[in-house]
Symmetry: C2
């Protein structure tokens, strides 16, 4: 095939967007390495065949299934069930009409970004913490949404720094309009935002007129912390758009997420129900989410009496054991190495380890090639130059205890070699 | 909930994007009306339960299914099967690595538009025919992609007018870089692009350095015409990105589409395999297409020996009968009405009817309320002011023969009343 001179979207070629491929490929290239790279759920708990069989054998006839085959409502067909689930498991009061079923939470992000940002203005700014989940930030980068990174300070995004950033942006004539955050067991750091900070963040959103996109894929995976209400449950002023997912609680290929948005806004003098505009965008991204997969999930949720908590208990427990195994192995193998420390996440799939040196691409490669362990540099999730340079993210969700012990041992050898 | 002053993407409020909702809602508001509005496939041929059961009972164990539960390759896992299908049914030689499985063809459009257009330049232009499928144009409008509409002349887009438009745009410093077209049984007109025009279109793409997005959801639904090769099958210069779908051949809630792009381009001096950039975007729109649905489709395709032609034969035949029933009813009920004419589509789901008056929103409502039949104004699919004003689109894919006869009778009463 001849090579044609043809330009495409130049933003695809920034180093940030290359990182997804780099990380995916390194685990394919080194299949024998212990990978703490990606935060996949543990397939031992999927029960895919049981869930599909249970759906099929629920006694419904051909007509029921053929109805499920057709195009259907843009917002989804199991919104009542989702509303009950959100009430039971999160204490969130969501009208079924304020919910949109999405093709995984990732599509929810695409819908939100396409709907909220006016790309022609150049003044709209997305606020994200540094580091932040690459899926949300990456899509915003593809579109060219201006992004301001806000540093974190321990348990969450730094709220003082956030407020200062907003004030500064407004002085510059910018419009910081959306903050993206994962308050429950943040990806990539593992942090759990304290209640007081949640309340203050909601106050800031009200004071400075921005919306918060609360992404909560890991909320069910809570180990030894009191439950803190989600921002959405605390939200009295319609400031939060909530993103949920079944990828971690059921299994990823169910490709089912949901967004909740009950806001009524005054858009240039026009009264707008935000969910109706998100729905409009959804009709142009994937028409509607597979009703077959929706019905499969609903059939399961009905059998669970509209709560995922008991069904998730063994998965959560296994993940907690993994976390503890990793903490134990770190304490064992890293004792006496100056400059290494780590956090103790109270839930989720990830922990943060500080190293006494910068984790460059070359060192990442050396770590895999010579020590056969894959880690994820924290800088991959960062926007500011130099941020996260001497940190790594370790995912403990998808390994056996033995693999975790072995992987941490290998990692300690690599660190000692520096 | 209080109403907040908050601006979102202003482009969502154009009249064009309101049309999808209008049409969806009118059929919900008038459930007793005969609807020729939407081009849904006929659910009598879905066999959803059989397809799911066949997949479950293929003798695979829990391990097989739990593997399917996990996140998987961004491009998809049934690319070999798709490659065989494209070879058998369309004569298209596609390397499995040049195929990306998508969440319906609609997601393919989102991926293509996000990947190809540099929104910051303002010079990139999308070329579409007037009228064109609202799903592609609508998403481009949400993003603010500049669009130039090219009139049609009978069997396809008007190629003389297309060439003139390109020359004019280039003189203005614009870069007309993508043409979207449905050569096989075009939505909304039903037209089938002749072979000579296909060849000339490919020549124009080569001469003026644009890519063609060929969208082919209806190609299997061919009634009494010789098979004309797709643009992709004729494409010797890597000018075509091909979009396919299982929504019409299997059923819509399988939400499975695919795009084929083997181009190698020189992007500002960088050698780029286009499919790898489309894959990058895909990883940020939906991560990957449900492997469960992919495997379900593959299980079916294997049982069909990698061709959909025999399985589609009864669906195609039923749709042909519907077309003939509609043509017969039109001839019967519209004889003697001045200014009414219609085309005879040789495939697909749609036909075009010319009326002796303009089909306004008010008249559309009157047609439903007083005559209980739903049609789709052609102007809904048009971009140029006044285009398609006295035409309607009739979908015949999803009605019984009796409904078609009754609906056309009602439509004739409405037209006679004007």
């Amino acid at each position: 095939m001849k090579e044609t001179n043809y330009t495409i979207n130049d933003r695809l070629f920034g180093p940030y967007l290359e990182r997804m491929n780099f990380l995916n490929e390194i685990s394919i290239d080194y299949p024998d390495a212990v990978s703490f790279g990606s935060g996949r759920p543990d397939r031992r708990f999927f029960s895919v065949k049981d869930i599909v069989s249970g759906f099929l054998s629920a006694g419904e006839g051909d007509d029921f299934f053929d109805d499920l085959g057709q195009y259907n409502k843009t917002k989804g067909i199991i919104n009542d069930t989702l509303s009950a689930l959100l009430k039971n498991d999160e204490g969130i009061d969501a009208d079924p009409g304020d919910i949109i079923l999405t093709d995984g939470a990732q599509e929810g992000m695409v819908i939100v970004i396409n709907t909220l940002f006016d790309l022609s203005s150049g003044d709209d700014v997305l606020l994200v913490s540094d580091p932040a989940y690459i899926g949300f930030v990456g899509y915003a980068k593809i579109l060219g949404v201006p992004i301001t990174a806000v540093r974190r300070n321990g348990d969450s995004i730094d709220l003082d720094y956030l407020e200062e950033s907003i004030v500064r942006l407004r002085k510059e004539g910018k419009n910081p309009k959306v903050l993206y955050e994962v308050p429950d067991f943040h990806n990539p750091t593992g942090e759990y935002m304290p209640l007081e900070r949640r309340k203050r963040l909601l106050d800031l959103a009200e004071r400075y007129n921005f919306l918060i996109v609360e992404d909560n894929p890991y909320g069910y995976f809570r180990y030894d912390a009191e439950k803190i209400p989600t921002l959405k449950a605390l939200d009295g002023n319609g400031r939060v758009i909530y993103l949920g997912s079944f990828s971690k609680t059921l299994f990823p290929s169910i490709r089912l997420g949901y967004l909740v948005a009950g806001q009524v806004i005054d858009h240039k003098g026009r009264r707008v129900e935000l969910v109706e505009e998100l729905k409009k965008t959804k009709s142009f991204t994937t028409v509607n989410t597979s009703t077959l997969l929706q019905a499969m999930a609903e059939s399961y949720l009905k059998r669970q009496n509209f709560t995922m908590v008991p069904a998730c208990a063994p998965k959560v427990e296994a993940c907690r054991v993994n976390r503890d195994t990793m903490l134990g192995a770190l304490a064992e193998h890293f004792s006496g190495i100056e400059g290494v420390k780590w956090n103790r996440p109270r839930g989720g799939f990830f922990m943060t380890v500080d190293l006494p040196f910068e984790m460059t691409d070359d060192l990442l490669k050396e770590c895999v090639e010579k020590y056969s362990v894959i880690v994820c540099p924290m800088s991959f999730f960062c926007l500011e130059e130099g941020a996260g340079a001497n940190q790594i993210r370790l995912a403990f969700s998808n390994r056996t205890e033995e693999e975790i012990r072995e992987g941490i041992k290998r990692l300690s050898r690599f660190v000692r070699s520096r």
